[in-house]
């Protein structure tokens, strides 16, 4: 077992925390960004038989470059299956996806997530991306992990628009009554801590708090009266190995830092990132016995 890292960033802590939610042998529905990094960390540490599905039609890729989007050529690299969105989302609707990750701009205490608009739907103050696959994951994945920035304004009593259903109004069996096959939100991992949902009330409560974060700041950033677990613990830091894997896969911190600014318009830097990745990633896979 690797030592805890002494030097790590908040995104790295979040990615490691999400990685620990993934179990060996599972099939996960993963978008790009931080969940993808978390998935690779899980596969390269405690879950070698963990495989991902990528929305636009790939299963079990084993890339040695950083995937750049959910329909990216990199998602295709040494995949078991490639083809259609309907294959992977259809499998999810039928119960074959153990876990999916989503994100959003707002969340409420029952885990309903908004990624569509702020303000009135027809005259939005801010128009956002829309559901993409988030609604599909939240509807049908056996469990859903939500990753969010917690900015003091986005943990709200009522979201402007429910893009991805959590436990809806929190009433018993609300998801089943709505016809939703999936299990609903399992955890929310934010920049402040880790939340779970109570099995009776379906209400979000704070389970873990990140190192260095104060409980009063957490409470102040939530717009409802946040319940806190009597067994509140500090979030486990990433291990050295987890951090090493993240930095091998994403050396420019495209997903875990400011890499996108660095690469804007810099073709040579981008090509160097994509070209240099082959050998260190191949070596890492060899060491881990990953095909």
């Amino acid at each position: 077992m690797s030592e805890y890292a002494k030097d790590y960033s908040m995104p790295e802590l979040m990615a490691a925390t999400v990685a620990r939610e993934f179990r060996d042998g599972e099939l996960a529905f993963i978008g790009v960004g931080m969940p993808l990094i978390a998935a690779m960390v899980a596969k390269f540490t405690h879950a070698p038989n963990f495989n991902i599905m990528v929305e636009f039609g790939a299963v079990g890729p084993s890339p040695r470059r950083l995937p750049l989007c959910v329909d990216c050529a990199v998602d295709n690299e040494r995949a078991y299956y490639t083809g259609t969105l309907r294959e992977v989302v259809g499998a999810q609707q039928a119960g074959f996806v153990d876990v999916g990750c989503i994100s959003g701009a707002e969340i409420d205490k029952y885990g309903n997530v908004n990624s569509t608009c702020i303000g009135d739907y027809y005259k939005p103050q801010v128009r956002l991306a829309g559901s993409g696959g988030a609604n599909d994951i939240a509807s049908s994945a056996t469990r859903t992990i939500i990753m969010m920035r917690q900015d003091g304004r986005n943990f709200v009593e009522k979201v402007h628009y429910i893009t991805s259903p959590g436990y809806l109004d929190g009433s018993p069996g609300a998801r089943e009554k709505a016809g939703l096959p999936g299990g609903g939100p399992q955890a929310v991992v934010t920049t402040m801590g880790v939340y779970r949902f109570d099995k009776d009330t379906c209400e979000m409560y704070l389970e873990k708090i990140h190192p260095g974060i104060k409980i009063d700041d957490v409470k102040a950033s939530v717009k409802w009266n946040l319940a806190v677990s009597p067994n509140l613990v500090e979030t486990e830091p990433p291990t050295e190995e987890q951090v090493m894997i993240m930095r091998t896969l994403d050396p420019y911190q495209v997903y875990l830092g400011t890499g996108r600014q660095t690469l804007t318009g810099d073709f040579e830097a981008f090509m160097k990132m994509m070209e240099d990745s082959y050998w260190p990633m191949s070596e890492l896979m060899k060491k881990k016995g990953i095909l």
Partner: protein
């Protein structure tokens, strides 16, 4: 609030583990008494059907679901295993009249069977629905015909968008799906070459899946062309290596239909005594598929293979 998190549910995905076993083992493990069994037609899973007949004293009864089947379902019907068949077509194709099927339906020999009729597309869309976790699919087939009249599980509703009639078919999720395919790796990623009818959706809709294949390949070979992965590993429970496993039917690019044999089998199936003698010799008289192939003759099977390869080879134009 009890601060007990929402409990984990069980998912349906099969793990990426070693899944190669014998037909005997796979049938023993997954096909129980009263099993609701789905089977492919392209290619026909003969090796598994023979093994089911060998284990018929344990299995006792089956409910079959097929789209079309030519010959092979009747091996189960004539063996007295089948209570019910949900189907679009069960006949002999070029081999002609299916006397086994007729005896069962018309005379209850060896026992009565219940039939539920669909069209091919109606039957296929039942697996399509099951594959996607839906309880039905709409079709425009079957409307206005007696298929709808005599099948209460096809519901004709007014289309909520157009107001016109549309026929809904109920999803079919077999307990076990059996199918013969071209190649698989050891964790159960399966390739079908050529035409494969509804094999893809049968695998997706079934709770358990047993696949026989002509060849076992490595995971790297699957990854060489992931577009050709017809059935990803998470659907598959068991992979059985059974070369020539669709005889007397065809396996695209491997060997074609043994028509001389099929016509001869059908001739013997004309009476129940003839059928039973045939089963005694070819199915119960052999311990496994390899013994069956020896009885048919590997020289004969090899001729069928050579002829197919003269005309076509996957990845070539001949």
């Amino acid at each position: 609030m009890q601060y007990q998190p929402v409990p984990l549910q069980e998912g349906r995905a099969k793990q990426p583990t070693y899944k190669i076993m014998t037909a005997k083992e796979a049938v023993s493990r997954f096909i129980k008494e009263g099993c609701y069994l789905g089977m492919s037609v392209s290619a026909a899973p003969s090796a598994l059907i023979w093994e089911i007949v060998r284990q018929k004293d344990r299995i006792k009864t089956l409910d079959l679901v097929i789209t079309s089947q030519i010959g092979m379902s009747s091996v189960l019907i004539g063996s007295g295993l089948v209570n019910k068949i949900e189907m679009a077509y069960n006949w002999g194709g070029i081999e002609g009249e299916d006397r086994v099927f007729r005896r069962a339906v018309e005379k209850g020999i060896p026992k009565n069977i219940e039939i539920e009729d669909y069209s091919n597309f109606g039957a296929a869309m039942r697996w399509q629905a099951g594959a996607m976790g839906l309880s039905f699919m709409p079709t425009k087939s079957q409307l206005g015909s007696d298929v709808v009249k005599y099948n209460p599980r096809i519901k004709v509703i007014d289309d909520p968008y157009t107001g016109k009639p549309v026929a809904l078919v109920l999803a079919s999720n077999p307990d076990v799906g059996i199918m013969h395919c071209a190649r698989a790796d050891e964790i159960g990623n399966v390739q079908c070459f050529g035409l494969y009818g509804n094999t893809d959706v049968l695998a997706r809709a079934s709770r358990h899946v047993i696949v026989t294949v002509e060849e076992i390949v490595s995971q790297a070979e699957i990854r060489r062309m992931p577009n050709l992965n017809t059935i990803p590993y998470y659907y598959v429970d068991a992979v059985v290596h059974a070369p020539f496993g669709a005889h007397w039917r065809e396996s695209n690019y491997y060997y074609h239909h043994d028509l001389a044999y099929g016509l001869d089998a059908y001739r013997q199936f004309a009476t129940q005594e003839g059928f039973e003698a045939w089963i005694d010799k070819y199915v119960l008289g052999t311990q496994d598929w390899n013994e069956y192939c020896k009885l048919v003759g590997y020289d004969r099977l090899y001729r069928l293979m050579l002829n197919e390869r003269r005309y076509q080879q996957f990845g070539e134009v001949r």
